[in-house]
């Protein structure tokens, strides 16, 4: 590497120049692309069900307690689940636009995560109190809502807390609605402070930081409910038999991302090797660092990798699994890439293979998808540690769900935070010792 010694060098570039280099795609274009995907997905709901079936399905899924694992394709129907998902996607995209937030990595990740989880837990009833709680937090601090919008969007992970209290605890409905939404408001009020603080716990190596935070908050609420004699039932609704149709559906989606990405990346796939050199640790915003085009290419690739894994191990494409795929695709804008997710997925596979679980059942499949929350460990420390993280995650994630009674949808983020907090200080300590030797 060429060293510059003693010469007068100043390669500083102003912000304007930098912006033109990585943000060739304007905010308006990014907004239109994201909104365009939401609208197309919304319209695709009508390929599966008639408008009346979709409306009745929406009513059913909105009234579901929605704790893990509730596939809206079963409690509603396929069309209503897709409609619910894309409608929420449209709403949060418009909220982001209204608040003048740049459509960069974290926002794109949040929008796709909401779309994914709206296939199995988030709906038009259970997200609002949490969003309102964060808005009140912002007003109390005399700050703009946009400063907390990431927490607000991801914070909807605790939507099932609202649905479960409303519809699952046999409390008279008017009182249940009040209790549930008060709980949601409290969640929204405290999450911004907790989320910013807990990110240090795992040093940004758990990408689903709000998953970890919501896990702790959900654990408190579950303990509170249990102290009054309430208990959440074990829930498992899963659709089956849609692999061919969803395989085609998702392939079209991911191919379109590759094509759009190719176009916005100056009709090239160039630069991808630089993108996968990044560790992915928070905060790695691929839109800012590598451009919108490359980010879309990365998102499309991650879509194929994750869908390929599910089909390869004999899993089923249904609401929760597609939700997991959407989430990984979204985080293709914010920390995940082909090089850092694969070791973690292999680790989860090995864990499930040697443990008591079948690799193609819902728990290990979701662990393989959402376990990629630990992808930055592979990115920073190498593939061996990525596999180790995945292996540890597989065991951990199957044990933490009962703490929050399935009310934290980002259960893998909760587990990932614990695994990262166990692993990172240990790796760092041995590394320091090696360097000192």
């Amino acid at each position: 590497m060429e060293k510059v010694s003693g010469a007068n060098v100043s390669t500083a570039r102003g912000r304007e120049e930098k912006m033109t280099e990585t943000n060739k795609v304007t905010e308006q274009v990014k907004f239109r692309v994201i909104l365009g995907y939401s609208v197309v997905l919304l319209l695709s709901a009508f390929l599966f069900n008639s408008p009346s079936e979709i409306i009745s399905g929406l009513v059913n899924l909105t009234k579901a307690p929605s704790i893990l694992v509730t596939d809206y394709m079963v409690v509603g129907n396929v069309g209503s689940a897709i409609f619910n998902s894309s409608l929420l996607m449209i709403i949060v995209t418009l909220i982001a636009k209204y608040n003048k937030v740049d459509f960069n990595g974290p926002i794109i990740a949040a929008i796709f995560t909401i779309a994914g989880f709206a296939l199995f837990g988030k709906n038009m009833y259970n997200v609002w109190a949490i969003l309102l709680g964060v808005l009140i937090h912002a007003k109390m601090k005399k700050e703009k809502f946009s400063k907390f919008i990431i927490v607000a969007f991801f914070g909807t992970a605790l939507g099932p807390l609202i649905s479960q209290i409303t519809f699952g605890l046999d409390i008279p409905l008017p009182m249940a609605i009040i209790y549930a939404n008060i709980a949601g408001l409290i969640v929204g009020l405290v999450l911004p402070a907790l989320g910013a603080h807990y990110v240090k716990f795992h040093q940004g190596f758990n990408l689903y930081n709000i998953g970890f935070t919501a896990g702790l908050v959900g654990t408190f609420f579950m303990a509170f409910l249990r102290s009054f004699g309430f208990e959440n039932p074990k829930t498992l609704y899963l659709a089956e038999g849609y692999n061919r149709i969803f395989g085609t559906y998702l392939s079209v989606l991911f191919i379109s991302m590759l094509i759009l990405g190719y176009i916005y990346n100056n009709k090239s796939f160039g630069g991808y090797t630089n993108l996968i050199k990044r560790s992915g640790r928070a905060v790695t915003d691929f839109v800012v660092l590598d451009g919108f085009g490359l980010t879309l290419i990365n998102m499309g690739l991650l879509g194929f990798i994750t869908m390929g894994y599910i089909l390869l191990v004999g899993g089923q494409l249904n609401g929760p699994i597609i939700g997991g795929i959407y989430t990984v695709v979204g985080f293709g804008a914010f920390g995940k890439h082909s090089k850092n997710i694969i070791p973690v997925m292999i680790g989860v596979y090995i864990g499930a293979y040697f443990n008591v679980w079948e690799v193609n059942t819902i728990g290990p499949l979701l662990a393989a998808l959402f376990g990629t929350t630990l992808a930055p460990i592979a990115g920073e420390y190498g593939w061996k540690f990525g596999i180790l993280a995945g292996f540890m995650h597989m065991a951990m994630v199957m044990n933490v769900g009962s703490l929050h009674g399935g009310m934290n949808l980002y259960n893998n983020g909760f587990s990932g935070g614990i695994v990262a907090a166990l692993l990172i200080p240990a790796i760092d300590a041995f590394r320091r010792k090696e360097e000192a030797a």
Partner: protein
């Protein structure tokens, strides 16, 4: 106001960490806190810094400020040995690094 000062402490930590990594052992920090903003300059002598590293540093520091990132992730700045220069760029308004006569100088400013 308090939060801006806490951020500036973290930023100083991060920049000192960077200086150590490029071999600077005598580091000078200048922090100027005014009504309108905080300016931090960290500088020191080192034998050499590659053009690529200097360019990369400037790219990170010139990332536009992102409010939505700032309040959520700023506590990661200056934590441990990990590089968070991109995050420094995301929480500051201006950033600039230069290498002149064997002296590396990094200046950032944060509007209030």
């Amino acid at each position: 106001m308090i939060e801006e000062r806490l951020k500036s402490i973290k930023i100083v930590d991060e920049l000192i960490n960077y200086c150590y990594k490029v071999g600077i052992t005598q580091i000078h920090v200048d922090l100027n806190d005014t009504d309108t903003g905080i300016t931090i300059t960290v500088e020191g002598n080192c034998d050499g810094i590659s053009e690529k590293d200097l360019q990369s540093l400037n790219e990170f520091l010139s990332i536009p400020r992102q409010e939505e990132i700032e309040d959520y992730y700023w506590e990661l700045i200056g934590e441990g040995e990990k590089n968070e220069l991109a995050l420094v760029g995301m929480v500051t308004d201006e950033g600039h690094a230069s290498y002149t006569n064997k002296k590396l100088s990094i200046t950032i400013s944060l509007n209030k």
